[in-house]
Symmetry: C2
Subunit: 243 residues, 2 copies
DNA sequence: GGTACTTTTTGAACATGTTCAAAAAGAGTC
DNA sequence: GACTCTTTTTGAACATGTTCAAAAAGTACC
């Protein structure tokens, strides 16, 4: 781990400078030359420690995700209804992401590119992704709302995907105080509550099963209908959805 | 319109070369210098006719959208159940987009950036956006399925947003023949059919209204709760959702 | 056809992300 | 300390998107 302490210090310093710069002046104006200069090393050296600019952005994501988790913690500790927990966790993301809204578009643009290390589905993002996913496992696990057994397994992932969708919406949201995004969060959370309640009714059972089956069949790690689905395909990374 | 015929010819030639190149070698390898050289003009001249590389990508979108509309036409002409029409139109997009899958990620990345001309919500995209939206107006208008009145007004836009989501999924889809995306299309279409049917039941009425109200309240062109919502904000363009 | 004006075109220039060969610094061994 | 060998660091180089001042071509009017 601590290869050479000297090298490790250079790396850490570069990361700190980069994260601070990304936060303060955005993606575009955070040039590799500027980061390197600010850190007191050469441009090439920055590339020795980080394979690309995206790799630096990745470090930022990790910080933001930690911030989100921290803000969500009290909500998760409190127990309560699913809708309330969801509202709390989704809402916490709006607060945690707020400082980055000005450059959110740039970050999302970088993150959405399939090959990008910064993609929420990439192997490189495993760290921040797992952090974020765990929040929704906890949302479901710790709620007093009775969640039908059939739903329990897949619900957290769906809520995480919804989190991505909300973030995508937020990036485009220019309303003061992100009022629209907050309406989306509040309404969405309430809706999920209603739907979960509704899912218990016999009329809904068919549709619920359809949805769950569809989600499963569409999941990259699918149970594979024609057997040869996820075999010798090495380059593929983790999960992916539609956000 | 036909300002100077000479200038117009240069512009058209640049556009044709660019679209062909984007189709054949992708976004990155289609450099402005290469486009200009291939068209037999200087680099600066390309910038005289198109303000940015994104503007050229915009031209590609228009072509692809036309292709989609063309493939969807027979389905739309045929009438029938909502689910079938949807499956046809969404499925047509998979076929129409297929030649660009290799570079789909690059295009989406460009399109997702809020300020970008290539964004599906930008003013510059009005042309291709309207083309695409009209498809879903027609899907709903021409179906034999009985769609509850409350739904009719908003359904087309929701389906269009779903189209964006499907495209986003497709971009990440590495399964052979886009099998996963096709499962998503088939399952999604069937699901919409079921849900519309379900929406007629009294139990569902409450949730349906919640959804519709939420979508409205979250729409940029919202009826504005605190009155000062869409006032003196000139730079804002058209609609936007979460895809 | 010449003169004033606008539109179009050019090519050099700039800052960017990234690469790379070579230099410098470290680490281990005698 | 000198000698290998690896790790780290450097700075110049490359191709990119974009800008810009100036040249060329076109147009309108005398």
């Amino acid at each position: 781990m601590s290869a050479t302490p000297k090298s490790e210090r250079t790396r850490a310093h570069l990361r700190d400078v980069a994260v601070r710069m990304l936060r303060d002046v955005g993606y575009e104006r955070t040039t590799m030359r500027a980061v390197a200069a600010e850190a007191g090393v050469s441009t090439g050296n920055a590339y020795y420690h980080f394979p690309s600019k995206d790799a630096l952005v990745q470090e930022l994501y990790l910080e933001v995700q930690r911030e989100h988790a921290e803000r969500a913690a009290p909500v998760l500790a409190a127990g309560g209804a699913l809708a309330d927990r969801l509202r709390g966790v989704w809402g916490a993301s709006v607060d945690a992401f707020a400082p980055f809204h000005a450059f959110g578009g740039e970050f999302v643009s970088v993150a959405i590119r399939p090959g990008s290390d910064a993609s929420p589905f990439s192997a490189a993002s495993a760290g921040s992704r797992d952090l974020s996913r765990a929040l929704f496992d906890e949302v479901v696990a710790g709620t007093s709302t009775r969640v039908p057994e059939r739903l329990r397994a897949q619900l957290p992932e769906l809520l995480w995907l919804a989190q991505l969708g909300i973030t995508l919406y937020w990036v485009h949201d220019t309303s003061p105080g992100f009022a629209r995004t907050r309406r989306l969060v509040d309404g969405g959370a309430a809706l999920v509550g209603s739907l979960v309640r509704l899912a218990r009714l016999p009329v809904a059972r068919g549709v619920v099963d359809d949805v769950l089956r569809l989600v499963r069949s569409v999941h990259p790690a699918a149970e594979a209908s024609p057997a040869s689905d996820e075999g010798p395909r090495g380059r593929e990374t983790a999960a992916q959805g539609d956000a």
